[in-house]
């Protein structure tokens, strides 16, 4: 059964960026092949999941204020069903990492991620969470949270505007919508195998 193209209300598919990665995931799914019954069930579940992404209130610095702004009257992410922010990681679906992660915070972030119940997603909000941002040169800043936990969506900006955060959340919705619940997870791309101990005479 075909995996349907993820549809977001009032924004056409083509207007989203980075459709290639989505299509890549979809193609991988097609190679596996899913029967109609399981596929429909998956779609129902994905509908539920994608429309009910409860985020963990996790903010370390500036981006957290913008995250608060998204929840408030003007931007109001409740419209999309991201309304409920849980303070307990057990009950959250996604961790929106808003802000710099320092070396002292890194174990805490990892632990929070581990404490969350599957399925869990990660959105890296802002330059600091993506790469260390303006603090890349510091002795105490992690250069991107992807070193610690797998990230689903990156939202660039310093800090990103609330609109950007909403767009990032929609991208996450799209990603969730093409997930395969029965028969393994596909959302994390496999890391390439790197062979380091190549013998010196390998090429000869």
């Amino acid at each position: 059964m075909e995996v349907r193209k993820p549809h977001i209300k009032s924004i056409p598919y083509a207007e989203f960026k980075d459709n290639e990665s989505l299509e890549k995931i979809v193609n991988e799914l097609h190679e596996g092949g899913v029967d109609v019954f399981v596929g429909s069930l998956d779609q129902a579940i994905n509908w539920g999941r994608s429309n009910s992404l409860w985020s963990l209130t996790f903010a370390t610095s500036c981006c957290g204020i913008e995250f608060m702004a998204v929840g408030c009257a003007r931007y109001d992410f409740a419209r999309f069903g991201f309304e409920v922010t849980r303070n307990s990681p057990r009950q959250a679906d996604l961790i929106m990492c808003a802000g710099t992660i320092t070396h002292k915070m890194a174990p805490v972030l990892k632990r929070l991620y581990d404490e969350m119940a599957e399925p869990k997603y990660v959105v890296a909000v802002g330059g600091c969470a993506i790469s260390g941002g303006p603090f890349k040169g510091s002795y105490h800043v992690v250069k991107g949270i992807e070193e610690i936990i797998p990230v689903d969506v990156f939202v660039p900006g310093c800090p990103p505007r609330p609109e950007a955060i909403l767009y990032g959340m929609m991208q996450l919705q799209r990603k969730v919508k093409i997930e395969k619940f029965f028969g393994g997870r596909n959302r994390k791309e496999k890391k390439p195998v790197v062979v380091t101990n190549v013998p010196e005479d390998f090429n000869k």
């Binding site: 209300k9 129902a44 579940i45 509908w47 539920g48 999941r49 429309n51 009910s52 408030c72 009257a73 109001d76 409740a78 419209r79 999309f80 069903g81 309304e83 409920v84 849980r86 303070n87 307990s88 057990r90 009950q91 679906d93 119940a117 599957e118 399925p119 619940f181």
Partner: protein
């Protein structure tokens, strides 16, 4: 006024006489049907209430609330439930496994138990004992055990603090809750729920009118205490989000948390429902003693009256929850033991005097 007991008697006789099933089988079938009805109504109401809370609070706060899932966001809660159903459930290391597992069910049992006392319509009360009100309060207090065990069993320090708070608060407020109900019982002269509703049928027969001052006091105290009993803001100390992250259910994920979540909303409805039943006449329409108006009121089905009144109270509770800041634990206990409890006791005496002297609206 449509009497639902016509349907139930017909169905009973259908099973017993037309189909010729024995006592055991027919009661079994009826029980199963009623059980299914309760659970279905419970689930549906929970969904309605959650959606209502989101929309109502959004409008209070100059927001829109859920808009994108279905028209006007009506399917939002279905999506949430669907997600929560297949969220991973796991055990906390070093938690007391048995207590951890049992606690959400206890909370749910208490909530479903009290829920089944609701008088939906004339002749449609499910549990209707002669000590109905008494039993209702007894069942509702099982919830305390659930909250306490959840906090204790989770092996989490926040949860323990929250469990202590929950237990203290809920046990305390049970006092004035019961006293208020007894005040009503004094006036109606019965503990049976259907009897209480019937007693409010006269012109201006709703208890808040009938028992005027003491009944209004009892009604307000009941709402305050009930709000505290249901752990809703401004009394939501056990799960005080900004203090104890998520309180006693910090360590619960998936449906374990879902049960607490459902029970919280249903408890709110139960409180509103009991207040409706006891003080606002349950399914009983308002009668003002003018035959034309009264018969017009009677045309509106009882369930509409009941749900209408209950949801009005729910709306008031939501209003309070979203605009009031939270109290502190000592202030909560002070409110109960220094003000509400003595007030309800005096009120009970007042009501007894009024009933004895016949100073209520007959």
């Amino acid at each position: 006024m449509f009497d639902f007991s016509i349907v139930t008697t017909w169905f009973d006789s259908l099973l017993r006489e037309t189909l010729g099933l024995g006592d055991f089988l027919s009661i079994l079938i009826e029980c199963v049907l009623v059980g299914v009805f309760i659970l279905a109504a419970y689930a549906m109401l929970a969904i309605v209430l959650i959606f209502m809370e989101r929309k109502v609070c959004a409008y209070f706060q100059c927001r829109l609330g859920p808009m994108r899932v279905g028209p006007w966001g009506v399917f939002q809660v279905f999506a949430d439930v669907l997600k929560m159903l297949q969220k991973e459930i796991f055990f906390v290391d070093k938690a007391d496994k048995l207590l951890y597992l049992v606690a959400p069910f206890l909370v749910l049992i208490a909530s479903v138990g009290t829920f089944s006392f609701m008088p939906w319509n004339k002749g449609a009360g499910i549990l209707d004992f002669n000590v109905g009100i008494f039993l209702l309060t007894a069942i509702s207090s099982i919830g305390v055990v659930g909250v306490f065990l959840a906090g204790w069993g989770s092996n989490n320090k926040y949860s323990v603090v929250s469990a202590m708070r929950g237990a203290v608060q809920m046990i305390s407020y049970e006092m004035s809750l019961c006293l208020c109900l007894i005040t009503a019982v004094v006036l109606t002269g019965t503990m049976q729920i259907s009897g209480i509703v019937e007693a409010q049928s006269g012109p201006f027969g709703w208890l808040v009118f009938q028992g005027h001052i003491p009944a209004i006091i009892a009604f307000i105290v009941f709402l305050v205490a009930g709000n505290a009993e249901a752990n809703r803001g401004p009394f939501d100390l056990p799960e005080a989000e900004s203090e104890l992250t998520a309180g006693y259910h910090t360590e619960y994920s998936g449906m374990g948390f879902g049960f607490f979540y459902l029970a919280e909303y249903l408890n709110m409805f139960v409180i509103a429902g009991v207040a409706t039943t006891v003080f606002l006449g349950g399914w009983m329409p308002i009668h003002i003693g003018v035959a034309g108006v009264d018969s017009f009121m009677d045309c509106i089905p009882g369930i509409v009256w009941f749900l209408g009144k209950a949801f009005l109270l729910v709306w008031v509770l939501l209003w309070i929850r979203w605009s009031f800041p939270r109290l502190r634990i000592d202030q909560i206990l002070k409110l109960e033991w220094k003000y509400l409890m003595p007030l309800s006791l005096i009120n009970l005496v007042l009501m007894t005097v009024i009933v004895a002297l016949g100073w209520y609206i007959k």
